[in-house]
């Protein structure tokens, strides 16, 4: 198991949580709407909202493409006075053999632009990926309201 980046030392407190199952392309839009509702609820600005939704969209497409679906845990979290949306994407697909390679711009095994993972990392504040070949991948991202 490889871990790329540890999340911050403060442990966020979960305020609300909701699980969305994604198994087909049509499930992407409902997931985006759920994420958007959470972001609006904690008064996230439009630019950060768009970044978060785009990040969610990238990760969920990866999940559909390589692992034929999975589950997404949508949480609103807070650390001190700062609130944010935390998303956990979990699948039991083939896993990623070399995470460092997957995090490089332009690397893709699926004939895409190869910007999904590195782009997502740039769009959010905290990014953590764990993957075991043969048993699946878990990606956790957090976007803070002020960040």
């Amino acid at each position: 198991m490889t871990t790329l980046q540890k999340s911050g030392t403060m442990i966020p407190i979960t305020i609300t949580k909701e699980t969305v199952l994604v198994v087909k392309e049509q499930d992407v839009v409902p997931l985006r709407n759920t994420v958007k509702q959470c972001a609006v609820k904690i008064k996230m600005g439009l630019v950060n909202q768009t970044k978060l939704i785009t990040a969610a969209s990238e990760l969920v497409r990866n999940m559909l493409r390589y692992a034929k679906g999975g589950a997404v845990l949508v949480e609103t979290v807070s650390v001190g006075r700062n609130q944010g949306v935390k998303l956990t994407f979990q699948d039991d697909g083939p896993g990623i053999a070399d995470i460092n390679q997957a995090m490089q711009d332009g690397f893709s095994t699926g004939n895409s632009l190869g910007l999904g993972l590195p782009g997502t990392k740039r769009l959010v504040n905290e990014f953590d990926i764990k993957s075991t070949v043969g048993s699946g991948t878990t990606v956790t991202i957090i976007k803070w309201v002020n960040g």
């Binding site: 785009t54 497409r61 895409s112 632009l113 782009g119 740039r122 769009l123």
Partner: protein
């Protein structure tokens, strides 16, 4: 079984009881099926059902004798699905026939030794018939959904000719692979038919531009260029611009504009056209 013969004799009673039940149900649900129509079906159903039921086929729904009954049932269920009835209501319709038959025959059944096997086989038969109504009901609904899907994909990808040689294509909604395919086909076809040299893809109505959508857009632009036309992407909102930069998508090879109006200006410039204001006799340089 003698009971089957008794049933044939009591056909009119069954019909009357079932009609009563339907009238009662309709009053309960408050949305009566067109009464004349339903009564027609009820009569036909009882007729064909009672006529086709025999000792030999009562335990075999697949028997060809029931084809006419199933055909009728499918017709009723399909119509009801179209009219917005719930599957429960449609299911109850056929279940109440079973009730009617059993109620009409209850006295004879009490005397008969074959009562229990008869009830079991009849129930099995009627349940299979009810399943037919569910299947048809779902088919009916799917038919509606398919038509809507077709309609949506048709109305959502219009190609508009805004000027001689300039096409505009407003994209609304999520741009997935199949949408992109339709959009692209329409666009390329229209370029050929109108002989246009500039195409404007407006993405104001696309809620999220992620790398997959961007990839689709890039493909659309290269395909348009191969056809000898220039492609402009308009409707890039500020938050989308920031997101694209953070994602690291390179759109520098493409002409992008924030509004359809500025894309149109750019198109005029490409075609060496100018829009003039007649009031001031001043030419507004475009």
């Amino acid at each position: 079984m003698e009971i089957v013969q008794v049933l044939k004799k009591r056909k009119q009673n069954v019909l009357k009881l079932w009609l009563d039940k339907q009238a009662h149900d309709a009053a309960l649900n408050g949305n009566p099926f067109d009464e004349g129509e339903i009564n027609d079906y009820v009569e036909k159903l009882v007729d064909t059902f009672v006529d086709s039921i025999e000792n030999s086929n009562i335990d075999d729904i697949k028997s060809a004798d029931f084809d006419a009954v199933i055909e009728l049932l499918r017709e009723v269920s399909f119509k009801r699905a179209r009219q917005g009835f719930s599957p429960r209501e449609t299911g109850l319709f056929i279940f109440s026939l079973k009730e009617s038959i059993l109620e009409v025959l209850s006295d004879d059944l009490k005397k008969s030794k074959e009562a229990i096997p008869f009830i079991i086989t009849l129930s099995r038969l009627m349940d299979s018939l009810a399943t037919v109504t569910f299947e048809t009901f779902i088919e009916g609904r799917e038919d509606v959904i398919n038509r809507q899907t077709d309609e949506i994909s048709e109305i959502s990808t219009p190609v508009i000719k805004v000027w001689d040689g300039i096409l505009a294509l407003p994209i609304i909604g999520t741009l997935d692979s199949s949408r992109t395919q339709t959009v692209l086909e329409n666009l390329l076809q229209e370029i050929v038919e109108t002989g246009s040299s500039v195409a404007i893809l407006d993405i104001s109505g696309v809620p999220t531009v992620d790398s997959l959508v961007a990839q689709h857009l890039l493909k659309a632009v290269s395909a348009t260029r191969l056809m000898g036309a220039e492609c402009i992407i308009s409707g890039i909102r500020p938050e989308i611009a920031q997101t694209i930069v953070y994602l690291g998508i390179d759109l520098s090879q493409i002409v992008t504009k924030s509004t359809l109006a500025s894309a149109l200006q750019h198109a005029f410039r490409i075609l060496n056209l100018a829009v003039r204001n007649n009031d001031t006799t001043k030419t507004i340089k475009k």
